[in-house]
Amino acid sequence: MTGNITGISGPTVSVALKGLRLYERVYVGNAMLTGEVVKIESDRAVVQVYENTHGLSPDEPVRATGMPLAVSLGPGLLSGIFDGLQRPLEKLRDESGPFIKTGKEIYALDRSRQWRFHPLKKKGDDISPGEIIGHVNEGRFSHFITCGNDISGTLSWVADGEINIEGTAGALTAGKEIPLYHEWPVRVPRPYRKKIATSRPLITGQRAIDFLFPFTKGGTAILPGGFGTGKTILEQSIAKFADVDIVVYAGCGERGNEMAEMIEEFEMLRDPWTGSRLMERTVLVINTSNMPVAAREASIYTAVTMAEYYRDMGYHVLLLADSISRWAEALREISSSLEEMPGEEGYPTYLSSRLSGFIERAGVVETYSGKTGSLSMVLSVSPPGGDFTEPVTQSCLRTTGTFLMLDTSLAHRRHFPAINWFQSYSLYAGELSAHYKEKVSPEWEDVQKGCREILRKEETLREVVEIVGIEGIHDQDRLLLHTAEMIRSTFLCQNAYTDDAFSPLEKTLSAVKKILDFHKEAGERLKQGTPLNEIL
C-alpha cells in the first residue's frame, strides 16, 4: 500500500493514504525513513518520522507495512548498543562511518551468529502458552526460548544443536513453528500471569539510597535535579553496581560524550556481584540529544520492551532512563507539530497518562512460564530551571515509589550524590525494613532513626548558629554539628570515581554505626566534663 506525502512540518508528515492503522509503522519518502502513524483523518493520515526530514519533498511515496513499530527479541541483545529504533550502533558505525545517515535499515540481531540450542522439552510433550522449550547460552545467562503466549499443543519436533537466529527451535503437531526470535510491538506491555507485591530490596551500593531511601526490586524511582547535580553520574553508578541480573540503560536525549565514556567504562569494569564484565549484563539504548527527536520518544519504549523480555525469563532487570524529561519534550515537540491543544507548559494533556502507563510496566511478576522476574525503573528528570513544580516531575511523583531529590546547593558544595535527605522519600522503606532487619542486622532500623535524628537536629541548630554564631551554643550542640558533618562528608558523600563508589550493605551499616557510636561516647565524656576540643 503506497500513498503520497502532502505536507511536511518538522518531524511530522501528512500523507494521502487510506486504510492505515493508528501506530502502524510506515516507510516515508525515497530514502525509506521510518515513521509511525499518529493521527488518522478520513482521507489522510499524519505520520511522525523517526529520522531527520531534511530534503524530503511532497509527492514522495509513503509505504504502509501493516505492522506496528516493533523490536526484535531474541538471543544477542545483551552487550548491544542500539539507537531508539533498535538499530545496532556499532554495526551502523562499521558499515556507514562515524556519522549516522538517514534511512538505513539494519537488523538488530546478528543473522550470522550460531547459537547452541539446549532443549528442555522433547517430542510429544504438551506445552501451554508461554512455556519454556529450551535455552541458549548468552554469555553467562541462560536465554530461555518460550513458545509464545498464544501457542499451545503437542511438540512434533524440538531442535538440538547449533541454530542461527532465523532458525526454528521446535514445531507443534498442528504445524506451527516456534522461532528463536520474535518481534514485539514496543507500545504494548508484554503479558505476564500476575503481578506480585514487591518485598526484596534492590541494592544500589549507594549509601544514601540503600540506607535512607531503600529501593526495591520491581520498584520505580525518580531522580530529579537541575543541571550539574549529578543525575547522570548517579544513574551510571546505579547501573554499575545494582544487584540485578540485567541492566537496560536508555540514554534518552542526553550527551554523546557521556555515552562514549560510559561505553568505554562498561567494557572495562566488572560487576561487583559476579565479577564478570559489566557490558555482559547490559543493553544500551542510546538516542542522544542531536539524534532525531521522534526516535527519542520511541527509545524508552524500545528499552522497556527489551527489559520486559528478559524479565519474562525470570531475571531481575533494571531499566534506567536518562532523562525522562527529554522524552516528554520530544512528546511535546511532536504534539505541537500535530497542532494539538496544549496543556501545562505546552506539554500535551496526555503526558501524565502516557507516563503512568510507561511506569506501570515495572513490577515483580509471575511469568507465563511460572518463573518470577522483576522490572525496576530508575528515571532521571531534568526540571527546567531546577523547578520541581513543573509537569514532568509532578506527573512522575504520582506513580513512582522513590523520590530522590538532587539538590543544587549540595552539588555546589561538591556533596555527591547530591541527594537531599529532607525532601527525598521512599515508599518502600516500610515493606523492606523486615528484610533488612532479618538479613542484614537487627539494629538496622534503630541506627537509621538515630542518623535521621541527628540530621534533623542539625538543620534547626544551623539556623540558630546563623544568628548567634558558633561560640554561642552549647558544647553538646557543637558536638552534634560535628557528628552531622561527619555523617554528611564521610557517610552520605560517596565519590563515584574511587573504590568507594560501591558500598556493600555491611560496610554501609558499619560506617554509620561507627559515627553514631562516636557521637554517643563523646556525649558521655562531655557530660563527665571532658572539654570538647579534647574529644574532637
Partner: protein
C-alpha cells in the same frame, strides 16, 4: 532531481521573516530558495514547512521592501551546503558565508550540508586530552579537554570578550609526549585552529576580536554577523562554522576550537522565527524545540575513535537579568559538559578573570587530569581548594550576620584564605600561567594558611 530551477511569482503572504508561496511543485524541506526583490536584490531563504502545494519560506535577510506582485522566488532543489577547502584558514566571512575580508572566494574542494549528521555515539572517543587555557581557574579547577563543549555564562557588563580573548591568546593543546615535568613546560601547539562565529556583534567588539585573532599564532576562520545585520543569519552562521570545523577536524585531522558568541542572540533569532510561525511559545516565549535545536549545534563537538582531529566548543552566552535559570543558560547547561560562570561581584572587586568557582563545573575534568594528563597531584589540589573556598563562602554569609568578631579564629583564617584565593589564584590579570604555575600557586596558598595538602 529537477532539471531546471523553478521560479514562482505566487507569494500569498509575507510576515516578518516568513513568506508563503503557493502552487509550488515538489519543494523539499530545507531546500534553499533565492528571493528576488522588486529592486533586484537577491536574498537567501529556506523551505521550512510544506502543506500541499504551499511552501513556507524563512528568509535569512531583511524582508523590508518585499511585495506580492513583483517579488519572485526561485527554488534551487538543493539543501544548504558549505563550500570547503583548506584555503578557508585565515579568512573572514559574514553570516551567509560571503567573504568580507576583501579577498575573492576560493574554489571549493567539497560541499557539505550545513545541518551535519549526528555523530554515532558508538563511534565517539572519550574526551580526555588536556587543553591548557592559561587561566588558572579553568585549568586548575574546571579543566577543559579536547572534544568538550564548555560554555561561558556571562552577564551584561562583564568582560566576557576579554576572557575569550585571553583563552584565544593562550590556549594550547598539550601533546601527551610533552606533559610538563617538574617546573618546566614544553607545550607543543600542534595543528590547532580557532573557528570564531560571532552573532550580533557590535562594531566595538568586532574590532577587538579581529585584533586578537590577527595576533594569534595559530590559524583561524571567522564568521561574523554584526548587530545591524539580519538576525536570521545568526541561525546560519554557527552551522557554517561547525560544518567548517567538522571538515578541518575530521577530514584534515586538526584540533579545532570553536568559539560562538553570543548564543543569546542566536536564541532570540530562533524565538523570532518561532513566533512569526505562530507556534505555541514555551518558557519566556522561546520555542519548545529549543533544546533539540541547541543540541544540534552543541553536540557537534567531540572526537571520533580512530581519527586524529577534534572539535572543542566554547560558546559564550549572556544570562538575561543575571538569571542562570533563564531558558538560554538552563537548556545550554543541560546539553554542555559543564559551564564557566562569570560573577559580577568578583568583577567589581577587580578580579580577572571574574570566574565564580562554585557554580562553574567541567564534567569531563576527571578524565583529563592527573598522571599522564596534567600532574599527579592535580585532583587533590583542586578538591582541596574547592572545599576550602566553598567553606569560606559559607562563612562569608555568616560574617554578614554575626560580624567578624563573633567568629572563631579558625573561621577568620578561612575567610582570609577565601579572599587570598580570589586575589591570587582566580585573579591573574593578563598573565599566562601554565599548568605547573597554576598548581603551584594553589599549593602555595594552601601551605600559607597551613591547610592540609
Amino acid at each position: 532531481m529537477r532539471l531546471s530551477e523553478h521560479r514562482y511569482k505566487t507569494i500569498s503572504s509575507i510576515a516578518g521573516p516568513l513568506l508563503f508561496v503557493q502552487g509550488v511543485f515538489s519543494a523539499r524541506i530545507g531546500e534553499v530558495v533565492k528571493v528576488l526583490t522588486p529592486d533586484n536584490r537577491q536574498i537567501d531563504g529556506e523551505v521550512l514547512q510544506i502543506t500541499g502545494d504551499t511552501a513556507l519560506i524563512e528568509v535569512f535577510a531583511e524582508t523590508r521592501g518585499l511585495d506580492i506582485e513583483k517579488t519572485s522566488v526561485v527554488f534551487t532543489d538543493s539543501v544548504r551546503r558549505a563550500p570547503l577547502s583548506p584555503e578557508i584558514i585565515g579568512r573572514v566571512f559574514n553570516g551567509s558565508f560571503i567573504p568580507v575580508d576583501g579577498l575573492p572566494m576560493y574554489i571549493a574542494e567539497k560541499l557539505a550540508p550545513i545541518t551535519g549528521l549526528p555523530m554515532n555515539p558508538a563511534a565517539r572517543a572519550r574526551p580526555e586530552e588536556f587543553i591548557e587555557t592559561g587561566l588558572s581557574v579553568i585549568d586548575g579547577l574546571n579543566t577543559l579537554v579536547k572534544g568538550q563543549k564548555l560554555p561561558v555564562f556571562s552577564c551584561s557588563g562583564l568582560p566576557s570578550k576579554e576572557v575569550v580573548a585571553a583563552i584565544l591568546r593562550n590556549a594550547r593543546v598539550i601533546k601527551e609526549t610533552a606533559i610538563p615535568q617538574g617546573n618546566e613546560t614544553i607545550a607543543a601547539s600542534g595543528d590547532f585552529i580557532v573557528i570564531f562565529a560571532a552573532l550580533g556583534l557590535t562594531f566595538r567588539e568586532y574590532s577587538y576580536y579581529m585584533n586578537t585573532l590577527k595576533d594569534m599564532k595559530s590559524g583561524f576562520v571567522a564568521f561574523v554577523n554584526m548587530a545591524d545585520e539580519p538576525a536570521m543569519e545568526r541561525l546560519l552562521a554557527p552551522r557554517f562554522a561547525l560544518t567548517a570545523a567538522e571538515y578541518l577536524a575530521f577530514d584534515n585531522g586538526m584540533d579545532v576550537l570553536v568559539i560562538i558568541t553570543d548564543m543569546t542572540n542566536y536564541c532570540d533569532a530562533l524565538r523570532e522565527v518561532s513566533t512569526a510561525r505562530e507556534e505555541l511559545p514555551g518558557r519566556r516565549g522561546y520555542p519548545g524545540f529549543m533544546y533539540s535545536d541547541l543540541a544540534s549545534l552543541y553536540e557537534r563537538a567531540g572526537r571520533i575513535r580512530g581519527m586524529k582531529g577534534s572539535i572543542t566548543m566554547l560558546p559564550v552566552l549572556t544570562m538575561p537579568e543575571d538569571d542562570i535559570t533563564h531558558p538560554i543558560p538552563d537548556l545550554t547547561g543541560y546539553i554542555t559538559e559543564g559551564q564557566i560562570v562569570l560573577s559580577r561581584e568578583l568583577h567589581q572587586k577587580g578580579i580577572f578573570p571574574p570566574v565564580d568557582v562554585l557554580p562553574s563545573l567541567s564534567r569531563l575534568m576527571q578524565r583529563g587530569i592527573g598522571k599522564g594528563h596534567t600532574r599527579e597531584d592535580h585532583r587533590k589540589i583542586s578538591n582541596l581548594l574547592y572545599k576550602y573556598y566553598a567553606r569560606g563562602r559559607d562563612l562569608r554569609r555568616l560574617e554578614a550576620i554575626v560580624g567578624r568578631d563573633g567568629m572563631s579564629e579558625k573561621d577568620r583564617l578561612m575567610l582570609d584564605f577565601t579572599d587570598q584565593f580570589e586575589r591570587e589564584f582566580v585573579n591573574q590579570e593578563s598573565a599566562r600561567r601554565n599548568i605547573n604555575e597554576t598548581l603551584d600557586t594553589g599549593i602555595d596558598l594552601l601551605k600559607r594558611f597551613s591547610l592540609e595538602t
